[in-house]
């Protein structure tokens, strides 16, 4: 069932390409602004880069989550699964997976220009970097899908998603930035297991909570 629900999101996105394209271009534009704004101190940019990277990821995630859930509001498409004999927790998991796929795809697209524009070195372990990106994105998505769910019927949804997501996801921003910073300084993975644990537990806590409460919050 989860597979069909995710496949539906992927099919729609494959045709329109609007979510990933808008996230990628938006990410690129913020990167450009950062590159220009931090030209005053090119030497310091390496210190700021991890934080900037996660700011870009959080901003683009908001855009992606908003679009991904708007999909369900067009022509009340959500009726198809709200009225169906499918547990809404399953739908939540499917949404988490779709959002994760879209956000990771857009990250892969804008991370190369991000490194090039900000003149960042790339002499670190790519596997560790992938692990941090996966855990960080997973944590953002788990709480992000829940917040998108509770704001689905809101008049000010576009505004409410970032207002609620940014403070709630602040532990993710701190932990992911810390990990990325240590990684850029070539410090091996074992030294920041604590931060990976924060990201992991964030994902587990909000993933479980979302799974449990989703059938209380989605309805017309």
């Amino acid at each position: 069932m989860i597979f069909h629900l995710v496949l539906k999101d992927l099919k729609i996105e494959w045709r329109s390409k609007e979510i990933i394209t808008s996230m990628f271009i938006f990410g690129l534009s913020i990167t450009l602004i950062f590159a220009l704004a931090f030209q005053v101190a090119p030497n310091l940019i390496r210190t700021f880069a991890p934080g900037l990277l996660w700011v870009v990821i959080l901003f683009t995630s908001v855009l992606g989550l908003n679009r991904l859930f708007s999909l369900e509001k067009e022509d009340q498409a959500l009726w198809s699964w709200v009225a169906a004999p499918v547990s809404r927790g399953t739908v939540y998991i499917a949404k988490v997976i779709s959002a994760f796929i879209f956000i990771i795809m857009s990250e892969l697209l804008f991370i190369i220009p991000f490194f090039i524009f900000l003149n960042l070195p790339s002499n670190f372990s790519f596997i560790s970097f992938a692990l941090i990106l996966f855990l960080g994105t997973g944590a953002i998505v788990s709480v992000g899908c829940l917040i998108s769910g509770i704001t689905l019927q809101a008049r000010l949804r576009d505004v409410l998603i970032p207002i609620l997501l940014f403070p709630s996801a602040s532990p993710v921003a701190i932990a992911a930035t810390k990990c990325t910073g240590l990684l850029f300084n070539q410090i091996p993975l074992v030294n920041y297991l604590f931060w990976l644990l924060i990201l992991g537990s964030f994902f587990v806590i909000f993933g479980l909570f979302g799974y449990l409460v989703f059938n209380q919050i989605v309805e017309e």
């Binding site: 539906k8 999909l71 009726w79 198809s80 009225a83 169906a84 004999p85």
Partner: protein, 203 residues
Amino acid sequence: MNLDINNLSKSFYHVPVFQSFSISIKSGERVGLFGPNGSGKTTLLKMISGIMSVDKGEILIGNILQDSENIKTRKSIYYLGHSLGLYPGLTGNENISFISKLYGKSELLVLDVLKKVGLGKLENKLVKFYSQGMLQRLKLATAIILNPEIILLDEPLNGLDNEGLDLFKKVYTEWEENSKTIFVVSHDQEWLKNFTSRTIELT
């Protein structure tokens, strides 16, 4: 399958739409529902289908409580609503296949059903390019393929041309023959009188 609503209450922005509303519909009965705008006709159908939650009271479907936790009851109902309730970014065929998977129905019949409602040639066209009449036919196709015991129809005649009306009558007669429980909302009281076993007015 019989449908019982006991002491149902629902309000919007603290304005009650239903207060202790009760109705009982026997299996195989066809009930028409009419009333002025804002009397809660659509809301009632949405609550029965599980799309909307109830504030108080209970809805029993075949003696099982309709509840967001309980997914079994939703299998025997389909709500054919005002809005599409399907994805405009998917083709007709993909939409019907998707929803039949959600209900655990076989997809083998999808093309046959689409041909039956006259959408055979349009199966691979995106739903966002469908006209109003085609969308109505698509919803009808969904109702046919899901083959639920209880069918909730919200203004089913809207946007249908003469050919579409004939098609709808044919499908409706089939449901009647298979003794489905049908709940229809319509402004056309004449139509309701001819095609339902009893009518209820909401005020």
